[in-house]
C-alpha cells in the first residue's frame, strides 16, 4: 500500500461515521425545520414570534452575564494561582477544577442543595434574617449553575495561558522603560487576549446550549434549550423544535467560530511590599471563596447521601442505606454507562487516532475543512444533535431501542476531543520527519504507524481517552433525548432520581457518580501535569 492510499484509508472510518451520524442527521434536521406551517419562513419564527424572541433574548442575556461573571472571577483567581506559590496551592487548584466533569443535571442538583427549599443559603438566611431566601428554581439559580459549570474551564485556560507567557516579554518591556501598569496593558493582557477570547466563547456557547441544569432546576425557566425540549417532547412540534435547534446551533457555532475581541479586566503588578501583601490576601480570599462555592455543594451532597435524615441533619445518624437502595434500583444504569463509555472509547480510538494522523500529514484546505466539520459537535448543543439523530434514525426500531443508539450520539460528541487531543501532540512532535525516518529504514506505512506514530502520540491518546470516558459517563444532554426506559445511563438515572426520589437517595446516587468520576479526573490532571513537566 502506498503512503497516499494508507492516509486515505486512515480517513475512511472518520468520513463514514461523520457522514452517517452527523452530516446526514443535521441535513435532515434542517429539512424538518422547514416542514412547519410556515415552511422555510419557520426559521424566522425564532426572531419574529414574540414568545420565541423573548426566550432567545433571555437566553442570550443569561449567557452573556454568565460569560462576563466567569471571566472576571476566573481571571482574578487564575492569574493569582499561576503567579504565586504557597502551601496548599495544588489542593486549591484541585478544588477549583474538579467540577470539570460534572454534567449539567448534577450541577442543577448541587444548586438546589445550595439555594433550594432545603438549601444551605435558605437555612443561613432564615437564621440571620428570619426570612428564607430560595432562588434555585429561578433564572438566578440557572445563572449560578452556569457559573459553576464555566469557572473551572475558564480558570484552567487562563492559568495555562499565563504559564505559557514568556517572562522575557515582560522583562524586555521593562528594559525599555515600561512601568508595571504599562507592562500589563501593553504586553501581558494582549498576550492573554486569545485565551480570554477562547475561554469566553466556550463559556458563552455552553451557557447558550446547556440543558441539563435547566432541566433539573425547573421546566419553566424560559431559555432556548428548554423551549426546544418542550416543543419536541410535550407539544410534538417537530418542525419548530428542529428550526429552533438549528438557530441555537448556528448562534453557538458562530460565537465559537468568529471570536470577536473581548475586553479583559486589567491586572496590576505589585508596587510595594505592603500593598503586595494586601493584594495577595485579597486575591487569596477571593479564590478561597470561589473554591467554597464549588466545593460546598458537592460536600453537602455527599453528606446528604450518607445521612439518615437530611432534614434533621447529620445528628440523625450516618447510614449506607441510601447508597444500598440506589445500588438496588440503579445498578443497571451504572453498568450500561460503563459499557457505553468503553464502547465509545473503542470507537473514538479506532476512528480518531488514524484520522488525526491523516489530517496532520495531509494538511491543506481539505484537511482543515474536514477538521472543522468533525469538530462542529463541540459547538453545536447536544440537544440539536440528539434531535437530528432522532429525526433521522428514530424509525429504525431495533436500533432506536438499543444502547447502540446512545453510543452513536456519544461517539459523535466525544470524537472531536480525541481528535484534538491527538492532533495537539502531533503538532508538538515532528511526525513527518519521524515517519520519513522510519520509511528510510524500510518500514511500510502501516508498520510506521504502529511502531512510530502511535507510540509517540501516546500522551495525547491517553489524555483523549480519559476525556472521552469522563465525558461519556457524564453525558446527559444527548442521552436524555436518545434513551428509552430500557436504556438508561447513569446521568439519566440521576435526573430520574432528582425528580422522583427523596433527597437522600438522590444524594447517594450523586455520591456514587462522584466516586466513579473523580479518579478519572485525578488521572486526567496527572497526565496533564506530566505533559507540562516533560
Amino acid at each position: 500500500m502506498t503512503h497516499r492510499s494508507f492516509v486515505l484509508a486512515c480517513l475512511a472510518p472518520l468520513a463514514l461515521v461523520t457522514t452517517a451520524f452527523f452530516l446526514l442527521p443535521m441535513g435532515r434536521l434542517m429539512l424538518v425545520g422547514a416542514t412547519g406551517p410556515h415552511g422555510l419562513a419557520g426559521y424566522l419564527d425564532i426572531v419574529l414570534e414574540p414568545r420565541y424572541r423573548a426566550t432567545l433574548i433571555n437566553t442570550v442575556v443569561l449567557a452573556a452575564a454568565t460569560t462576563l461573571a466567569t471571566m472576571v472571577i476566573a481571571t482574578i483567581s487564575g492569574m493569582f494561582l499561576e503567579r504565586h506559590r504557597f502551601p496548599g496551592r495544588s489542593i486549591l487548584i484541585a478544588m477549583l477544577t474538579f467540577p470539570l466533569a460534572f454534567p449539567g443535571v448534577v450541577i442543577g442538583f448541587l444548586i438546589i442543595l445550595l439555594a433550594g427549599r432545603q438549601g444551605v443559603i435558605g437555612d443561613l438566611t432564615q437564621i440571620l434574617t428570619g426570612e428564607k431566601i430560595v432562588f434555585a428554581y429561578s433564572i438566578w439559580g440557572l445563572f449560578l449553575g452556569y457559573l459553576y459549570f464555566s469557572i473551572p474551564r475558564v480558570i484552567l485556560t487562563i492559568m495555562a495561558a499565563v504559564q505559557k507567557l514568556d517572562p522575557g516579554l515582560e522583562e524586555a518591556a521593562r528594559s525599555l522603560g515600561a512601568g508595571p501598569w504599562a507592562v500589563q496593558r501593553d504586553v501581558v493582557l494582549p498576550a492573554l487576549g486569545p485565551a480570554f477570547v477562547a475561554s469566553g466563547a466556550i463559556a458563552f456557547a455552553t451557557a447558550m446550549g446547556a440543558f441539563g441544569t435547566a432541566f433539573t432546576l425547573a421546566t419553566n425557566i424560559d431559555v432556548l434549550p428548554m423551549l426546544i425540549y418542550t416543543e419536541f417532547t410535550l407539544a410534538a412540534n417537530f418542525a419548530t423544535a428542529a428550526s429552533l435547534s438549528i438557530g441555537l446551533g448556528l448562534i453557538s457555532w458562530a460565537i465559537l467560530r468568529y471570536r470577536a475581541h473581548s475586553p479583559a479586566a486589567p491586572w496590576r503588578r505589585r508596587a510595594d511590599a505592603m500593598r503586595d501583601r494586601l493584594i495577595f490576601i485579597a486575591q487569596l480570599s477571593f479564590t478561597l471563596l470561589v473554591a467554597a462555592f464549588l466545593v460546598v455543594p458537592a460536600l453537602l451532597s455527599i453528606s446528604a447521601g450518607i445521612t439518615a435524615n437530611y432534614f434533621r441533619g447529620i445528628s440523625s445518624g450516618v447510614t449506607l442505606q441510601w447508597v444500598a437502595q440506589v445500588w438496588e434500583l440503579y445498578a443497571d444504569t451504572i453498568a450500561l454507562s460503563f459499557l457505553i463509555a468503553f464502547a465509545t472509547l473503542g470507537a473514538t480510538l479506532v476512528i480518531g487516532v488514524p484520522a488525526a494522523y491523516a489530517l496532520h500529514v495531509r494538511g491543506g484546505t481539505l484537511s482543515r475543512v474536514t477538521e472543522e466539520v468533525v469538530t462542529l459537535p463541540l459547538a453545536i448543543p447536544g440537544m440539536a444533535i440528539a434531535l437530528a439523530l432522532l429525526l433521522t434514525y428514530g424509525g429504525f426500531g431495533g436500533f432506536r431501542r438499543s444502547w447502540m443508539f446512545i453510543l452513536v450520539g456519544h461517539v459523535v460528541f466525544t470524537l472531536p476531543f480525541m481528535l484534538r487531543s491527538v492532533m495537539a501532540v502531533f503538532a508538538t512532535i515532528d511526525v513527518g520527519t519521524l515517519d520519513e525516518g522510519a520509511a528510510s529504514l524500510g518500514a511500510s506505512p502501516m508498520r510506521r504507524f504502529i511502531d512510530v506514530i502511535v507510540p509517540n502520540a501516546m500522551p495525547g491518546i491517553v489524555a483523549g481517552s480519559l476525556m472521552v470516558v469522563t465525558l461519556s459517563l457524564g453525558e446527559f444532554n444527548l442521552t436524555w433525548m436518545l434513551h428509552t426506559p430500557l436504556t438508561k445511563t447513569l446521568p439519566v438515572g440521576l435526573a430520574d432520581s432528582y425528580a422522583s426520589m427523596r433527597l437522600e437517595v438522590a444524594s447517594a446516587y450523586t455520591l456514587i457518580f462522584f466516586i466513579m468520576i473523580v479518579p478519572l479526573l485525578v488521572a486526567m490532571q496527572l497526565v496533564a501535569g506530566k505533559e507540562q513537566r516533560a
Binding site: 502506498t2 503512503h3 512532535i429 515532528d430 520527519t433 519521524l434 520519513e436 525516518g437 522510519a438 520509511a439 528510510s440 529504514l441 524500510g442 518500514a443 511500510s444 508498520r447 511502531d451 512510530v452 507510540p455 509517540n456 501516546m458
Partner: protein, 361 residues
C-alpha cells in the same frame, strides 16, 4: 577498522527537476553521476535545491515527469523510500523517542526480519564504530546533540544501505563539536567506502568531506568538481565568492596585465579585453614595501584573527582588497603598502563585469 559493508551502488540522476504544487521551481532539470563508493557533497545556500535533490534520490520526492533516478543502472523512480534501501540521516535526526538507542539502531534490521541475535551483534558493532558505547539503553531525550548525531548515523548505516544520504547532519551542533564530528565522520565514511551523498551549506564541511563537490544556486548546478577545483578554479563569480574568501577584481586586461588604479598585475593569460574579471584569494597576496611592488595601496584596517591578520587595502583596485598577512607582520592603518601576487594565483573568470565599477578618486 575497515569492515566489509559493500560499497553501495553507483547513482545517476537524469533530467530530474522539481516543481512544487504551488508552482515553485525548486530544482531545474539536472543530471549527475555519482560513482560507487564516492562521497559527493551538494553545497549551496538555503533554497538552492540541494535538499530537494537529496530527497529525490531518497524517494521522498518524485521528480517532475521525464526525470529518472538510477541505482546501478536500475530505474528506482517507482519505488518509495522504504524499498530503496537507502540510509538517511536527517537534519533533526528523526530518532524515535519511543525507542532506546539500541532499538533505534536496530529498527531497520528488525523491519528486514533479521534475527534478534544477529541484530544485537550488528548493533554492538555500530555502537563501537560510532563511539557510543554505554548509551545503548538510554532514551533519546537523555542524549546530547553529538550523541544523537552518532545514533542517527549508526541507525542509517546499520541496514548496509545502497546509498548513504545525509541532510545537513552537523548543522544542529555547536561550532567546536561540529568540527570534531566532521573529522570522525570523514574517517567513518572513508572506512565504510559506501556511496554517500551529503548536503550542507557549510563550505568548510564540503571541502573536508567531499571527493567531489556540487555547487548549487537557485535550483541549478553551477559547478561540479573536486574541492581543489572549486576552490582554485571556480567557474563563476558565485562559486568563487561562496567558497572561501575571494577578492573579485574588475579591470582592463592589456597584453597579459591587469590595469588597476594602484598599479598593474601580471596574469598568466596573455590576452587583452576591456572588462576582465579576476579572482584573487586573500592568502595569495603578500605585503611588501611599496617601492618593491608594481601594485600598491593604503591599509584601511587590520584585524587580528589569531593564525593570521586580515588586512583591508584600498586604492590598489577599484574596490578594497582583502589580504591575509602573517600574524607576526607589523601592519599599521594608513600606511602605504606594496602588493605582490604571482600570476598563477590570479584566476580569470568568464563572468561579464558588473556595471557598478566606480574608479576611485
Amino acid at each position: 577498522m575497515t569492515m566489509d559493508l559493500g560499497h553501495g551502488v553507483a547513482v545517476r540522476i537524469e533530467a530530474c527537476g522539481k516543481t512544487f504544487a504551488d508552482g515553485t521551481r525548486a530544482l531545474e532539470p539536472a543530471t549527475l553521476d555519482i560513482a560507487r563508493g564516492e562521497t559527493l557533497v551538494l553545497l549551496g545556500p538555503s533554497g538552492c535545491g540541494k535538499t530537494t535533490m537529496l530527497r529525490i534520490i531518497a524517494g521522498l520526492e518524485t521528480p517532475d515527469s521525464g526525470g529518472r533516478v538510477l541505482f546501478d543502472g536500475r530505474d528506482v523512480a517507482s519505488e518509495p523510500i522504504e524499498r530503496r534501501n537507502v540510509g538517511m540521516v536527517f537534519q533533526s535526526y528523526a530518532l524515535f523517542p519511543n525507542m532506546s538507542v539500541a532499538d533505534n539502531i536496530g529498527y531497520g534490521l528488525k523491519i528486514r526480519g533479521v534475527s534478534k541475535a544477529d541484530r544485537a551483534a550488528r548493533v554492538a558493532e555500530l555502537v563501537r564504530l560510532t563511539n557510543i558505547e554505554g548509551l545503548e539503553n538510554r532514551r533519546i531525550d537523555q542524549l546530547s546533540g553529538g550523541q544523537r548525531q552518532r545514533v542517527a548515523l549508526a541507525r542509517a548505516v546499520a541496514i548496509r544501505p545502497a546509498v548513504l544520504l545525509l541532510d545537513e547532519p552537523l548543522t544542529a551542533l555547536d561550532a567546536a563539536l561540529r568540527e570534531r564530528l566532521r573529522g570522525e565522520l570523514d574517517r567513518l565514511l572513508r572506512s565504510l567506502g559506501i556511496t554517500t551523498i551529503y548536503v550542507t551549506h557549510d563550505q568548510a564541511e564540503a571541502m573536508a568531506l567531499g571527493d567531489r563537490i556540487v555547487v548549487m544556486s537557485k535550483g541549478m548546478i553551477t559547478q561540479v568538481g573536486t574541492p581543489r577545483d572549486v576552490y582554485l578554479r571556480p567557474e563563476s563569480r558565485f562559486v568563487a565568492e561562496f567558497i572561501g574568501a575571494a577578492n573579485i577584481v574588475e579591470a582592463e586586461l592589456r597584453d597579459g596585465r591587469l590595469l588597476l588604479p594602484g598599479g598593474i598585475l601580471a596574469v598568466a593569460d596573455a590576452g587583452s579585453r576591456p572588462g576582465a574579471v579576476a579572482m584573487i584569494r586573500p592568502e595569495t597576496i603578500s605585503l611588501t614595501a611599496p617601492e618593491a611592488a608594481m601594485l600598491s595601496g593604503h591599509v584601511d584596517g587590520v584585524s587580528f584573527v589569531g593564525d593570521r591578520q586580515r588586512v583591508i587595502v584600498t586604492g590598489a583596485a577599484a574596490k578594497p582588497l582583502t589580504v591575509d598577512a602573517s600574524n607576526s607582520a607589523v601592519v599599521r592603518t594608513g600606511e602605504r603598502v606594496g602588493l605582490t601576487i604571482s600570476p598563477e594565483a590570479i584566476w580569470l573568470l568568464s563572468d561579464p563585469p558588473s556595471n557598478d565599477v566606480r574608479p576611485e578618486g
